[in-house]
């Protein structure tokens, strides 16, 4: 459904952030995009949603297609209308608006009032905690509630594809688990494709169908999520697990070299 062909992104005409990224998201799947800080994960999402343009970034090469239609070159408002919602990093709630008003902003482009009302109930079904807070000023919600609210806001636009940027950021492990459970539920029940950017590789690979690893503006590795979960390098570098119990021998010594090979 979404097809990214070898895009390159440059900020302010000098800083090259993406150096040839290709990615496919098929209908109804969850794709995880993992990597360290500065690898270019968020930039990839912004290139898709068009928000790059608001930050002096530019796609200098490559192309992005949504359901066969080329979408790079459009602004964020138009791309939102084509069925892509981005949930930005850092829980960007509209602080002085109520929970309900936040959700209504997500449904701005929709004309079917009955459908909007139904979807608001659907959001409250997924996040029962929000229902009780519907008239509260959203700036005073807890971190977890705010994360739920921004995901709910993206849902209100009924997107075909949701771009989720670090939903686990700054949340307690239990809350991360809860939110990931709900994301998985939304994906399977609404048949909504999700492109998920995460630092928390374990949580992301737990629900994703496919995973990709980014480093220095390139995708260096990809494959089915369960394969990545079992991959020793990924366990070590991104999940913080070493092969417990095995004798420490070659791996410690070769750590540096293996890492280097990836980056090059």
């Amino acid at each position: 459904m979404l097809q990214i062909n070898n895009i390159e992104v440059v900020y302010m005409k000098v800083i090259e952030v993406l150096r040839g990224v290709s990615l496919n998201v098929s209908r109804g799947k969850i794709i995880a995009l993992l990597g360290a800080n500065g690898a270019g994960k968020t930039t990839t999402l912004k290139a898709i949603s068009g928000l790059l343009k608001t930050e002096e970034g530019e796609i200098t090469d490559g192309s992005i297609y949504l359901a066969g239609e080329r979408i790079d070159g459009y602004g964020p408002e138009d791309i939102a209308g084509m069925g892509i919602s981005q949930v930005m990093e850092g829980r960007r709630v509209l602080e002085h608006l109520t929970v309900e008003e936040n959700l209504m902003v997500g449904a701005y482009l929709r004309k079917d009032r009955a459908g909007v009302k139904k979807d608001m109930d659907m959001v409250f079904d997924y996040f029962p905690g929000l229902k009780r807070l519907r008239r509260q000023t959203s700036g005073y919600l807890s971190g977890g509630e705010q994360q739920m609210l921004v995901i709910g806001r993206a849902l209100m636009g009924r997107p075909k594809l949701m771009l989720l940027d670090e939903p686990s950021l700054g949340l307690a492990p239990l809350m991360v688990q809860e939110i990931y459970g709900i994301i998985k539920g939304i994906n399977s029940e609404q048949k909504m494709a999700i492109l998920l950017v995460e630092q928390n590789a374990r949580a992301a690979l737990g629900i994703a169908d496919t995973g990709h690893i980014m480093e220095n503006g390139k995708i260096v590795m990809g494959g089915p999520a369960e394969e990545l979960r079992d991959n020793d390098d990924i366990r070590e570098f991104y999940m913080g697990l070493s092969t417990v119990g095995s004798r420490k021998s070659y791996r410690d010594i070769k750590h540096y070299r293996r890492r280097k090979r990836w980056i090059a």
Partner: protein, 295 residues
């Protein structure tokens, strides 16, 4: 006592007009972070439009208001499209310079079209009168009260109960979020200039009816700044309260202080003195937006 209440009542209605003008300023500031120096010049244009439609075209007051509002809407749209839109994303200083230029251009155009002499349409507004006990509310004050009160109410309803009103409040919070929800920011900017220009023009017609129209009418803009600073930069409710406070202060000061000092200019300065004192103790103004910080 009657004299004091009389001053308070007329000051109150004057204050509502200030509040209306200040709201236009706040809306532009909130939606597009532009500090509109030319807000007072919308008032000036409003005064002249009032003169044109009431005196030259002999229109009744309601038709005059409608025509002036339509003209103001077009003026707001044109100004946004031609002068502000090309500067979206440019440094704040460049945008402020543009609004200063806009103030000069509007002032020059007004002189070009209507000439430099004093215009008045004092007797042409309908005469209403209201007596509460011993206080009689003068006709201009009553009209000012009704028209601006209605305008402020309509604006508040607009912001809370329409989709585009919600979009405007949302844009004031986070531009990127709003864009990724499919809301066209340029449309919100254009609308904020239309509203600012319309409320400025309404204020101009009302104030022009009281004191006549000449270039210095644009100084109402400075009073609007005072209102906005006192009320808190980003608060519409604050602008209303602060507008009323300043209106009353100005009138009461005029009533009691001006006879004491020869020259009688103190009334115009007094509200600013109060504003400075308040700002020393509450730098965000009385109702400035408190940055929400969770603990």
């Amino acid at each position: 006592m009657t004299y004091f209440l009389q001053l308070v009542v007329t000051g109150f209605s004057l204050g509502i007009v200030y509040a209306l003008v200040a709201i236009g300023f706040v809306i532009i500031l909130k939606c597009s972070e532009v500090f509109n120096i030319a807000q007072g010049h919308f008032v000036l244009i409003g005064g002249y439009l009032g003169y044109t439609f009431l005196v030259a075209f002999h229109l009744p007051i309601w038709a005059c208001l409608l025509m002036a509002m339509a003209t103001a809407a077009v003026m707001g749209l044109l100004i946004e499209r031609l002068t502000l839109r090309p500067l979206v994303g440019q440094p704040v200083l460049a945008v402020i310079m543009m609004t200063i230029a806009l103030a000069s251009i509007l002032e020059g155009l007004a002189t070009l079209i209507w000439g430099g002499e004093y215009k008045t349409y004092h007797g042409l507004l309908p005469t209403l009168s209201l007596h509460i006990g011993e206080i009689s509310v003068p006709s201009e004050s009553l009209i000012g009260l009704i028209v601006s009160g209605a305008a402020v109410t309509i604006l508040m309803l607009f912001f809370h109960y329409t989709k585009i009103g919600l979009a405007m409040r949302a844009t004031a919070e986070d531009l990127q979020v709003v864009q990724s929800a499919g809301i066209k920011a340029t449309r919100v900017y254009a609308l904020s200039w239309v509203i600012a220009s319309v409320v400025g023009v309404i204020g101009g017609i009302l104030l022009g009816g009281v004191s006549g129209v000449m270039i210095p009418l644009a100084n109402v803009g400075i009073k609007a700044f005072a209102v906005v600073l006192l009320g808190g930069l980003e608060s519409i409710g604050g602008a209303i309260v602060a507008g009323i406070i300043l209106g009353i202060l100005e009138n009461v000061a005029a009533g009691y202080l001006d006879p004491l000092l020869p020259g009688g200019g103190l009334a115009n300065v007094f509200p600013f003195i109060v504003m400075i004192v308040v700002l020393i103790f509450k730098p965000h103004g009385l109702f400035g937006q408190v940055r929400i910080e969770r603990i």
